[in-house]
Assembly symmetry: none
Homo-oligomer: 411 residues x 2
């Protein structure tokens, strides 16, 4: 019996992997958490360790998801800009040059007084509207605010390239940088960036939002500082790549943007807040519903990454217990056979408070899966598992092989 | 003590890897089989899991053998044609453009009535002889029948290339396709293919074999439809690659053809039928004899793949017991030290009845091999082995390292 109708689900606890913690008696959060459902999957399935990119390389959320979805980030990833723009719902076209931006405060000599304009948290929509659509030469500037002081800029025009530096000097007291390009397309782009930065200051300096901020004693958001240029890559759509469709049940804008760019169905789930209080049941139900429409579903729950960045191992263990309930609801709700892979997109150890290059435990479960002796979910149990050490790039290959969706290579 | 005189033997159970089977109490065929000799090798040697190509990729027999012999199939494999031709004993020269073909039935308007000419099973040798040696311009057509309606075509001539489509429309009722090339060499080749196809119809239409078929109410094999063009790749010979010679003790035409193409000694073993009744003792004796002539011997016993394709786990366990006897006879007959690797070229799970992307258990045994705690041969014992998870491409490297035949990379 081949399982050609079996669905495929990847469930990621964002930043799930961790290191031993003294506060958890030397266990990792995943080892310390009470996870009867993940343990059941480990006992009935096959475990291993997964390097999102390759051993020791700390993955970003975007590169990790690209890799786990089977795209080589070294081939496709030029900078965070495009995914940042996608993440806040901007329409990104292949060839667009995209930047992450900050609203910042500068003085009259273009010295940066506050890189985050006092962590401005309102009025940025109006400020962004004043800049969106600006033309500099034959380049169109598409601009949109994100949360707080963050925003994204798209430069759209002929012969642009991503080989440009940052306008953001990355420290306060320093002068805004005149951007330079390192090739011909980069030079054209740098000129457009510099024009955009100057014009942003002219337009924002006396904008009513900033007048009000000055009156309230707050630093004005009187300039935009782009950084992290990237060109929107020529990625095959998910369906073109695999011959079947997929859905993303994810909480973070960056990953939603990636899903949209791959032309997957990106579902907005009420209650999925991307916070530690997110509704894991709603996420699970969205996974189950999407499985009725697509053979493949990717789900990412953000919470463990937040606790990892906060350096709070007990909170992270609770987040992983939340993931366990999400998995339980998916497994118990399956109406057709499905192969599941549960893992993380990367490690965010509490002791590091940032992404690390440690591999992440992975468990695969479903019809046809070879088993092993592992009975529990977590880093050290998974290290002894039958999957051995695989890479993010292998996950889709293994799932599509298990569900008989792959062509033989050769005869 | 380095073992520079030690021989190297790779013994493959074709399609050996499998998945847990309810009919075998949840064991795989390799786990369920009574294999005292393979178990001894596991106890005395080192075990692991081997992905013929890479994790999750279902390998063909040709690409798997290429990879296990140390050739990168992604670099060398352009299509099945060349190996298909080699497999039926045709002499393939570097640069030849090779096609898989069907004898088919067409009507007067070149519409395909039967893509397999009623699965013709006799007379194809005579039909092939009527086409073999045809000249179209400065291109020579070498043509030979395979089993049933299958055949292979080689185009040999100047400036040909594999960038051509199929003449076979792959569905009945459709018209035979006029082949087009997608580059200059492809266009030259396309012209030769189209001429060959037209001439095949003229020559075969009234051939005595077809007159007889019509009288018997069978569809005539009145055209040849080529597909799957590939160029015979520029593979280094085995000896040029490694600096020592090797022999192939294999049963299947495709792999014999590969061995010949690599200029290895390809031994025809009486009693090696390629069926489940093959004489494993004769295969073992041929391995031992070849070891007297070459430092390296590759042996492949086809049987487990047949039972896998048949979906018969008990038969497959018996086939692996046959492999165990083959290994016993080799180990007991060794006159010089040798390093053995016993594995499969790929998995053919009984539940899939086709090749899958699951890794295959591998055991390596011989002087200098580090050992591990594994005491039995099979998927799940091997998952815990000291080799970890390796790739087909690693096997020759490890064997040549164990036998001190490799130059240091660096100083």
């Amino acid at each position: 019996m081949a399982h050609e109708s079996a669905g495929m689900v990847i469930i990621l606890g964002d930043g799930l992997g961790d290191r031993p913690e003294a506060d958890l008696d030397g266990l990792t959060p995943a080892e310390a958490a009470n996870t009867p459902n993940l343990d059941r999957l480990a006992a009935e399935g096959i475990s291993g360790m997964m390097d999102p990119i390759r051993p020791g390389v700390p993955a970003g959320s975007d590169t990790a998801h690209l890799s786990i979805l089977g795209y080589d980030p070294y081939q496709t990833y030029t900078g965070r800009g495009p995914f940042e723009a996608l993440g806040i719902g901007m329409e990104v076209r292949r060839g667009d040059i995209c930047f992450r931006c900050n609203f910042a405060t500068v003085d009259d000599q273009f010295n940066v007084v506050d890189r985050r304009a006092g962590r401005i948290d309102s009025g940025t929509h109006e400020l962004a509207q004043a800049l969106d659509g600006m033309k500099v030469g034959d380049v169109t500037c598409v601009f949109k605010e994100s949360v707080e002081h963050r925003a994204a800029l798209i430069l759209r025009g002929p012969d642009l390239g991503p080989a440009v530096g940052d306008a953001d000097p990355h420290e306060e007291g320093a002068r805004v940088l005149a951007v330079e390009g390192s090739d011909a397309a980069g030079e054209r782009t740098a000129q457009a960036v510099n024009d955009f930065v100057c014009r942003s200051h002219e337009i924002l300096e006396d904008h009513p939002v900033n007048e009000a901020r000055r009156k309230a004693g707050k630093p004005p958001a009187n300039i935009v500082l782009p950084r992290g240029a990237g060109v929107a890559p020529h990625l095959e759509s998910f369906e073109d790549k695999y011959g079947f469709t997929g859905a993303c049940i994810v909480e973070v804008g960056l990953i939603k943007g990636l899903g949209r760019y791959l032309e997957m169905e990106v579902v907005d789930v009420p209650g999925a807040t991307g916070s530690r209080e997110t509704d894991e049941g709603a996420l699970a139900d969205a996974v189950l519903a999407a499985l009725g429409r697509h053979p493949f579903v990717l789900c990412n729950m953000k919470a463990p990454d937040l606790s990892g960045h906060d350096g709070n191992p007990k909170a992270k263990a609770e987040d992983i217990e939340k993931l366990d309930r999400l998995v339980q609801r998916v497994v118990e709700g399956l109406r057709e056979p499905a192969c599941l892979a549960v893992t993380g997109d990367h490690s965010t150890p509490c002791s590091v408070q940032d992404h690390s290059g440690d591999p992440v435990p992975i468990v695969m479960w479903g019809p046809g899966v070879r088993t092993d002796a592992v009975k529990a979910f977590g880093e050290r149990p998974a290290q002894t598992g039958g999957l051995g050490r695989i890479r993010g790039h292998d996950v889709m290959s293994i799932l599509t092989s298990l569900t008989a969706r792959q062509e033989k290579f050769g005869a």
